[in-house]
């Protein structure tokens, strides 16, 4: 069964460092998303991506964040200068169509900023 894969599963980084979280969406999917879940809190939407551009982003997704689909298979989330409050589980998701199908989620990357 096809699945969304994320690497690494856990990343520890020092405050101020740049991190790149990687995702391989399901191959025939066209819509890509990043969500995050701070420990003990709800899952929050960060950004959606379609046709090689951001289609929607939340207020959380500020200038420190960027997304890219560099090679047609990977979908990355970059945080330029990490802060302690960026520590969270980051989920990548992908979907075929945007309106009436569910998003398939990856297993998540736990980012710990120290």
């Amino acid at each position: 069964e096809p699945e969304v894969t994320q690497t690494p599963s856990h990343q520890v980084t020092q405050m101020g460092q740049e991190v790149i979280l990687r995702c391989v969406p399901i191959s025939n999917h066209l819509y890509f998303y990043w969500y995050r879940q701070i420990l003990g809190q709800k899952v929050e939407f960060l950004v959606s991506f379609y046709n090689n551009e951001i289609s929607e982003k939340s207020e959380i997704f500020d200038d420190q964040f960027s997304v890219e689909r560099p090679d047609g298979s990977n979908f990355t989330l970059k945080i330029r200068s990490t802060k302690l409050e960026d520590s969270a589980m980051y989920f990548c998701a992908s979907g075929i169509l945007d309106l009436n199908t569910e998003a398939f989620f990856g297993q998540g990357t736990r980012l710990t900023v120290v």
Binding site: Y33, K42, V43, E56, L99, N100, E102, F105
Partner: protein, 115 residues
């Protein structure tokens, strides 16, 4: 603002007992509704979804949910739970917003099944 509310943060229940996890949404536009489950240290897995048609939808692992438009609810039920159902359950809504979409999640309900 659009929102999804899960009224119970934790639900303890004994094995083989029935359970209902409550979810309400606020939306003045069309909405699709989903329930996801998150087992410890794992990602989000879709349990079931409501898009249209029959208001009672059945999902995996014996779960079902009923869409009630007048009460803007989408409660999740299972007639007899197992220890293995212990997990975090998230209700989510997909709203139509400016032609694009995103999932809005509730805060989650932790289901703890005891022997």
């Amino acid at each position: 603002a659009q929102s999804v509310t899960q009224l119970d943060s934790q639900v303890p229940v004994f094995e083989e007992a029935p359970v209902e996890l409550r979810c309400n949404y606020s939306s003045s536009v069309s909405v699709y509704l989903f329930w996801y489950v998150q087992y410890p240290n794992q990602g989000l897995q879709l349990l079931l979804k409501y898009l249209s048609g029959s208001t009672l939808v059945k999902g995996i692992n014996g779960f079902e949910a009923e869409f009630n438009k007048s009460q803007t609810s989408f409660h999740l039920r299972k007639p007899s739970v197992h220890i293995s159902d212990t997990a975090e359950y998230f209700c989510a809504a997909k709203l139509f917003s400016g032609g694009y979409n995103k999932l809005i999640f509730g805060a989650g309900t932790r289901l703890a099944v005891h022997p």
